[in-house]
């Protein structure tokens, strides 16, 4: 379904290639010789279901597990002659595997995080209605809608991936687009490079335009679950910049911008009113015909999809994958579906269309199934798998 985010070859710390690495890891795990490793992984994943989520503890547990597995893999006969790159690939595969399995248990797993996500997203929605590049003193030479849009798209991809490495890559790619913009400006327009003084305002502006989904939870997830040895150097720097942009947005007030403070308050108030009005309209007239936007409160939400499946993104979801943060979206989709269904029913009531189906829920955890971000299921099974 989704390809792993591409990483440029110049990247120093995030470049070991996506899926190939991962399939190699799965292959090795199917080898009977790795039964001991598979057992450790399995029991680690199962052990998580015994406790209620506690992000800081969970992060430490996972990091400790990475390190103990790293030691085990280095001593393992299957990797006896492995190069540094191969060992590193194995660890990348392990991270992706473990975190994909534990995703619903570890991502936005406590209500506080879902609340912060909502608050950040709502504040960004308000800011989107009036914020201009000038308010952040972005010099005219860096005004480039095409580059900004490209950077936004990279950031918006963050929820398409479950593995911390791939989420981090979305951030890196967004930052690379901005860096290219700065470098081009410095070469063609003779704009003196001003380092982060140029970069950060553009990143903040792009973040506001993009309103990336669950920004807070995504950052926290990467921080806690990306292998610590990999969240260093350039990756750590650009990651820190997005944390910085988020912090700036959360704390943003009339004094943070090059804008009259009273005007700022008025604009925020106006944006709030517009939003409340829109929300009320939708609530009071649920049978509105032609209501096509399932998420009216998200101003910047996603490109218009034409295929039915992507209008209803939870079609392939399983109960265990849902988080509290999904409730708002689900409810809105539910209302949308009911509205459409009701209209449809009125028109074609002479036909019997009330066929119902009772879906059989799959219980996760009974089989060692891997849900990959690519959307295919791979089974690690020693009885059949080799």
């Amino acid at each position: 379904m989704e390809a792993a985010p591409s990483s440029s070859s110049t990247s120093t710390s995030t470049s070991s290639g996506g899926s190939v690495t991962f399939y190699d890891f799965l292959d090795r795990m199917r080898n009977p010789a790795s039964l001991d490793l598979v057992r450790s992984i399995k029991s680690f994943i199962v052990s998580f279901s015994f406790y209620t989520p506690n992000p800081d503890n969970d992060g430490k547990k996972v990091q400790d597990f990475y390190l103990s597995m790293e030691a085990a893999i280095m001593e393992h006969p299957l990797w006896a002659a492995a190069t540094f790159e191969e060992l590193d690939s194995a660890m990348e595969g392990l991270e992706k595997y473990v975190m994909t399995k534990l995703f619903s248990r570890t991502f936005a797993s406590v209500p506080e995080d879902a609340k912060i996500d909502r608050e950040v997203s709502e504040k960004i929605c308000l800011l989107q209605t009036f914020l201009k590049p000038e308010h952040l003193d972005i010099p005219a030479v860096l005004h480039n809608e095409a580059s900004w849009l490209l950077a936004e798209k990279e950031l918006q991809k963050i929820n398409t991936f479950k593995a911390p490495r791939e989420k981090l890559l979305c951030i890196m790619n967004c930052c690379r687009v901005i860096n290219n913009l700065l470098l081009n400006a410095s070469m063609s327009e003779n704009h003196a490079l001003a380092g982060l003084d140029d970069f950060l305002p553009v990143l903040i502006y792009v973040t506001i335009k993009a309103n990336p989904p669950q920004l807070h939870s995504n950052l926290k997830f990467i921080q806690l679950y990306r292998r610590q040895a990999k969240l260093v150097s350039e990756a750590a720097y650009y990651f820190t910049n997005l944390v910085s942009a988020k912090t700036f947005i959360v704390d943003l007030n009339g004094k943070s911008l090059s804008m009259d403070e009273i005007k700022f308050e008025e604009s925020m108030q106006a944006a709030r009113l517009t939003q409340t009005n829109r929300a009320t309209q939708i609530e009071t007239s649920p049978t509105l015909q032609g209501q096509t936007d399932p998420t009216p409160t998200r101003m910047h939400d996603k490109e218009k999809d034409t295929s039915g499946g992507s209008n209803y993104p939870y079609m392939d979801a399983e109960a265990g994958e849902l988080t509290v943060g999904d409730v708002e979206r689900l409810l809105s989709l539910y209302k949308d579906v009911v509205t459409k269904y009701t209209s449809l029913y009125k028109v074609v009531r002479h036909l019997s269309i009330s066929k119902t189906e009772t879906p059989v829920p799959h219980s996760e955890g009974t089989s060692f199934l891997l849900t990959q971000p690519e959307g295919t299921n791979t089974k690690i099974d020693h009885q059949k798998g080799n």
Partner: protein
Amino acid sequence: MGCSSSLPDRSSGQLAGLNSENGGVSDAKNLRVKLVLLGDSGVGKSCIVLRFVRGQFDPTSKVTVGASFLSQTIALQDSTTVKFEIWDTAGQERYAALAPLYYRGAAVAVVVYDITSPESFAKAQYWVKELQKHGNPDIVMALVGNKADLNEKREVPVQDGIDYAEKNGMFFIETSAKTADNINQLFEEIAKRLPRPASS
């Protein structure tokens, strides 16, 4: 902590092999340090770094040229190397509260001012105080008076810089990113002052 702050606590000798390339591990011969640049916007922080990174010619090192993150390795006379990972910060006032996100875990802080601007010197002192309060206690700090080529417009006397640095246990140097004066000396001097991990 010092430069060893970039060492993950858990890495044992056995794991060093896997971590040494991309991870936060340094050994006695090859240090890897996080250096954070602080100072008002317009004092030339980025220019100093660009001059340092581009001025060094080392055919074996792959220089990452980004706009605000740069790294450069220098070789010292005792055949050790130091790889600086240089973190720029935003100088505008509205971003001041974000600085701790950047200097957390840094082994070196280079605080830059412009010798033609007393305001930037005051701002430099503000950063020094903030680092003393909230920074890594073993951080190596350097105070840099940049734009030394503009001596005729000087408003901050050399002696003021020397005195302030001495009082605060910092290394002091005046540089010119424009003429490259003292740029390499700045980084070499920092490299010499770094605490070394116990040699194995």
